[in-house]
Symmetry: C2
Subunit: 321 residues, 2 copies
Amino acid sequence: MYGQQDISRLVDEYMANLPIPCAPQGIYVPMAYTLAEGGKRLRPTLVCAACNIFSDNILQALPPAAAVEVFHNFTLIHDDIMDNATLRRGRETVFRRWGANTAILSGDATLIFAYMLLGNTPREHLAAALAQFNLLALEVCEGQQYDVDFERADSVSTDDYFHMISLKTAALMARALRIGAIVGGAGEADCDALQDFGLNLGLAFQLQDDLLDAYGDAATFGKSIGGDILERKKSYLMICALAQGFSTEIETILSNGALSDEAKIAQVKQIYDRAGAAAAAREAIEHYTSLALKALEPLSVAPERCDVLRAITLELLNRNK
Amino acid sequence: MYGQQDISRLVDEYMANLPIPCAPQGIYVPMAYTLAEGGKRLRPTLVCAACNIFSDNILQALPPAAAVEVFHNFTLIHDDIMDNATLRRGRETVFRRWGANTAILSGDATLIFAYMLLGNTPREHLAAALAQFNLLALEVCEGQQYDVDFERADSVSTDDYFHMISLKTAALMARALRIGAIVGGAGEADCDALQDFGLNLGLAFQLQDDLLDAYGDAATFGKSIGGDILERKKSYLMICALAQGFSTEIETILSNGALSDEAKIAQVKQIYDRAGAAAAAREAIEHYTSLALKALEPLSVAPERCDVLRAITLELLNRNK
């Protein structure tokens, strides 16, 4: 059984040695640029950790793990075009640095490259892994579309919000864990349990992301703080405040041309505080974190085999980036 | 053995009944819009015809055939953003009708949907089909990047041009045919021969496309005539004319603000005529068509099993759209 550090090391090594082609540079330089700045490498670690619950041969999980991570990076490249984003992980976005056309095409190639890596999944598990990967990928696109739709919507319910993030963020983690379990040789019930774990972990993760976007520290978070507020994103915090009747007040602030961006962010956060939005978010994060941990209990393995997943879960609960 | 009409009918039926989801509409309405207007359905027909050379069970080739066609449609959605194109197959492009963001995201979903269809390839051939499909997809992106690079390049050699179209257009046909052969149970040598056939067919096809873009009939071609000229695309015709020293003359015409688009197109075509560009294109088309037909000769099957591919080849040679 591998410890969390071992898994991280294996993932980092594998990601550092991806066979990214060289030419044409217009595609592959932005791809390499995106994949070089690793971020947390959370998703491939989850794939390998899920595999390791059922099998000590986790090397076989590295190709689908890398595929999931590369896919995640593809979504960032294209989302940043749609969001007109300039900063990602503390660096210029591909869109900002090379323009929209390059971001579209190198993003497409990054998505295809993810499938190339997935193609190295052990033959006996390839069909099942591909089916899950396809669902994961389409669900993430659907979640992104709902997120875009929400920006134009006057009101978004918390149900709508959870449906959106279950697709945009949680489906990726849920199916990444299922793919890891499949490659590890897990049975259906164990695969279901890990997918359930991942879904709840993903919901907690996105809620935490919403919270950090408003209350995080720019230096550690890697993105501009308050970006969601300025873009009128229907984050969990915004939805809580809107549900409590602060809609007019927020709109007045955001459409006030005399206010600086910083002032807008500060004033909307004051409303969030009055609405108890951050407290509600923290409560929801703890709720879904506890559901995630509970989902691991029925697994047909010795409890200590889930130690890595439990440790990751608690780290995410307390993260500041 | 199936005739060309039978194959076309099977392909049309399969394409008309693709399980495209409904919600969110922002993704799936543009996807359905794109896939409904079929065009020639040339590529899926090639996959099925290649399978049929080796096996009478061509139903098994329909999922990868549809995957190739859906992939092709994905490339059109994204290319039309990059080319700022308004018209495609006689209708508004997705980009024009719904905007760039929708075209990016529904294009992404269309690419993923292609992989979903590919996932229904018979299990024993899935790994090989996926590997070929991945190469096909990445090569098409690479070709598109070279095409974009060429627009900014002062000079492009015919070698550069053939390298670009061998990736952007011919790789798709070559690997589509190989995938069909794989699913039909062909051996390596036969797969190689069909890929070679497809490569040459694809080169002839793209040359014909370049020719039609300048000399076709707008009503049958489905795109604006002369678009390549106005966009300064390095088509085969343009490369021939540039190679013969008409560079300054062409640039003078295209940058003359007093000329209408129609006048620019007419004057550049006069230069093409003086350069013998259209004649050179027609000669190259015949050359690659004959190489394609020759590539079928060493196949380990009765010659009549290639009748459909030969008929398609001759049709393409004489097409006007």
